[in-house]
């Protein structure tokens, strides 16, 4: 039952950030859908559809960096307090394996992020289904998926960078991480990412244990 306690601690750290972020995300989606509703009323549904289908209108593009921001916010909220006064030592001293504690913390963060994304993008999809047929919504989601994966990657990379004890290496990781994240945001037509999404998913999954590396360096006394 120790994972519940770890979850409790992590929850205390990120709850307001998570709730605040999710609320902002919901407000953002709400605003986006208001503009869609407004455009439907003023331009007519067929013109909106036509512009999305044939004129490259990506009405959901304001969501582009929403999940990236979410990943970074949660990473900072969760791991920055651990680095203040090297507080992470407390977690490592808990009667659990060091990697186990980290993975519990990380899983909780990732699941929180997932829930937040599910709420934000679920709401988006739900409202879209009112205005657009299923295919158009799926095409939008295929386009949005790499952005969402970038959110998780940013969270994983954020943890890696924040927990790294050596500032120089933090800089190197940020450089690699920053360039890596650009592959999720290549400008492209709607649903162009469909062949790449599975690969991006695998890469994101690969990054999920990245923090073990910098945490290990911390535990071995890298300064």
């Amino acid at each position: 039952m120790m994972w519940k306690l770890v979850v409790y601690k992590e929850w205390l750290k990120i709850r307001w950030f998570l709730v605040g972020y999710t609320l902002l995300g919901i407000l953002g989606v709400g605003y986006l859908l208001l503009t869609v509703k407004h455009d439907f009323a003023f331009s007519g549904g067929k013109n909106i559809w036509n512009s999305i289908l044939f004129l490259g209108n990506q009405f959901f593009s304001p969501l582009k960096y929403v999940s990236l921001a979410g990943g970074l916010i949660i990473a900072i909220a969760q791991y920055f307090p651990e680095t203040v006064n090297k507080r992470i030592k407390l977690s490592f001293h808990l009667p659990l394996g060091e990697n186990k504690v980290l993975l519990m913390m990380h899983t909780f963060g990732a699941v929180s992020l997932l829930l937040s994304f599910v709420i934000i993008f679920g709401l988006f999809s739900g409202f879209c289904l009112i205005y657009f047929p299923v295919q158009m919504v799926i095409y939008s989601l295929i386009t949005i998926l790499p952005w969402v994966l970038a959110g998780f990657s940013a969270y994983f990379l954020g943890a890696l960078i924040i927990l790294e004890p050596h500032w120089m290496f933090r800089f190197y990781y940020s450089l690699v991480g920053g360039f890596f994240l650009t592959i999720f945001f290549v400008p492209a037509v709607t649903s162009a990412y469909s062949p790449a999404n599975s690969g991006l998913f695998v890469l994101t999954a690969i990054l999920s244990i990245a923090l073990l590396f910098s945490a290990y360096r911390f535990r071995k006394g890298e300064m």
Binding site: L53, Y139, S194, I209, A215
Partner: protein, 410 residues
């Protein structure tokens, strides 16, 4: 576990560097490709070549022309200029020139490889072909073809059941196998008339679908046995000679004539829809087909019976055959890009460098890393994997293992 996380991070870094470093390299060293502009002259019966950056105008025999002379050899293309300067001939090859004829027969078609390998739209508008109006109106509903054809009203986002059933039943009667493989048409109201869609069904049969006065118009088009169309590009040319250019799975180019639905194969070779850009200029006398691939520029002139009159080919060095490309292939083992000139899809486009020079450079880098390790007096046993990584991935791997150092792992 920490060890695994390190190797995974090294992998991520190698991938990232394999995207970024080559991109930076080419940004610094790539030279622009100078493409000639080549057309077939109905006057010379030869190709006229305009080299834009060199400002030269010549024919295939090397005869040089002034700009004015050059334009006079291509009256169909430079009609306005010749009219303005009063040098437009009255007749060509014994044919008296009529401005309306020239305008009617003039056509231009362009297809890039990345338009073929691109996401298809989710829905299509089916226009009313005989509305009696001068201008086309965007319809209120859009269709998709799944297990049937469905029309969805954009205002309500509801399926129009009656219309869907009517069109589905008609298509079914004509032997259409749902769903569709490709749906091709001009999905824009900005065209002279509407000719609906050419649809390839699940069994590679070709159909023509239009809506006339709210009712379906379907025509099954006779396709020779074994012929499969991978891509169809509908056209809206003034002369109404044909509906579309069609591209088969064997990279043949067909046209589909209007009215009698005859499929005519053009004797054009050298087109590869996965990496060629295609331009077709039509005029009163000829079709000039320009096929451009990375290292070749092929121009084929057809007469109006679609028979080859003349061909001209120019090759140029591939990027990898140029000095910069050779240096690139020595420094970098591979290049990864998320985008490609020949596709609109985002993928991990991996190209391994040609030749073996990069292996030599990789081994040099490995030796360099080995020397550093030797100087630091570390246990080499713990660094064998790193050395292997450098041997395989070269500069990318070396930077990656420096960024994610193999420290404390013993």
């Amino acid at each position: 576990m920490e060890k695994v996380s390190r190797y995974l991070l090294v992998f991520i870094a190698i991938l990232t560097l394999a995207i970024i470093l080559p991109r930076l390299y080419w940004m610094a060293f790539e030279k622009p490709v100078r493409k000639p502009f080549i057309l077939y002259s109905c006057i010379n019966d030869d190709f006229m070549i305009h080299r834009i950056s060199e400002k030269t105008w010549e024919d295939t025999k090397g005869q040089q022309y002034t700009r004015e002379e050059y334009e006079q050899k291509l009256p169909m293309m430079f009609l306005k200029q010749l009219l303005a300067s009063g040098t437009m001939p009255d007749s060509v090859n014994g044919v008296k020139l009529d401005m309306r004829d020239i305008a009617r027969e003039k056509s231009f078609f362009r297809l890039k490889a990345n338009e073929i390998d691109a996401p298809a739209p989710a829905l299509y508008p089916l226009f009313e072909s005989q509305s009696g109006r001068a201008m086309l109106d965007l319809p209120d509903d859009f269709f998709r073809i799944t297990w049937r054809i469905e029309f969805i009203d954009a205002a309500t986002n509801m399926v129009l059941e009656e219309k869907s059933q009517l069109f589905s039943a008609t298509l079914f009667q004509y032997g259409f196998s749902f769903p569709a493989k490709t749906i091709s048409g001009l999905a824009t109201p900005r065209k002279s008339v509407d000719e609906g869609y050419l649809i390839v069904d699940a069994k590679d049969q070709l159909f023509h679908l239009k809506m006339i006065k709210g009712k379906p118009y379907v025509k099954t088009i006779n396709v020779p046995e074994g012929l499969k169309f991978k891509y169809i590009s509908c056209v809206d040319f003034k002369n109404k000679d044909f509906y579309a250019y069609l591209f088969s799975d064997k990279n043949e180019i067909y046209i589909l004539t209007q009215g009698d639905y005859e499929l005519i194969k053009w004797p054009v070779e050298g087109f590869d829809r996965s990496n060629s850009d295609l331009k077709i200029y039509g005029d009163l006398f000829n079709f000039t087909v320009v096929i451009e691939s990375e290292n070749q520029f092929k121009v084929i002139a057809l007469d109006l019976d679609y028979q080859v009159v003349d061909t001209y080919t120019e090759t140029r060095k591939l990027k990898e055959e140029q000095t910069e490309g050779k240096i690139f292939a020595s420094l970098f083992p591979a290049q990864v890009s998320m985008t490609s000139d020949s596709s609109k899809f985002i993928r991990f486009y991996v190209s391994i460098s040609k030749g073996l020079n990069w292996i030599i450079f990789n081994l040099l880098l490995m030796a360099f890393h080995f020397t550093l390790l030797f100087k630091r007096k570390v246990k080499l046993k713990n660094h064998l994997a790193d050395l292997g990584i450098v041997a395989v991935s070269g500069i990318f791997g070396l930077i990656a293992i420096w960024i994610f150092p193999n420290k404390f792992f013993d």
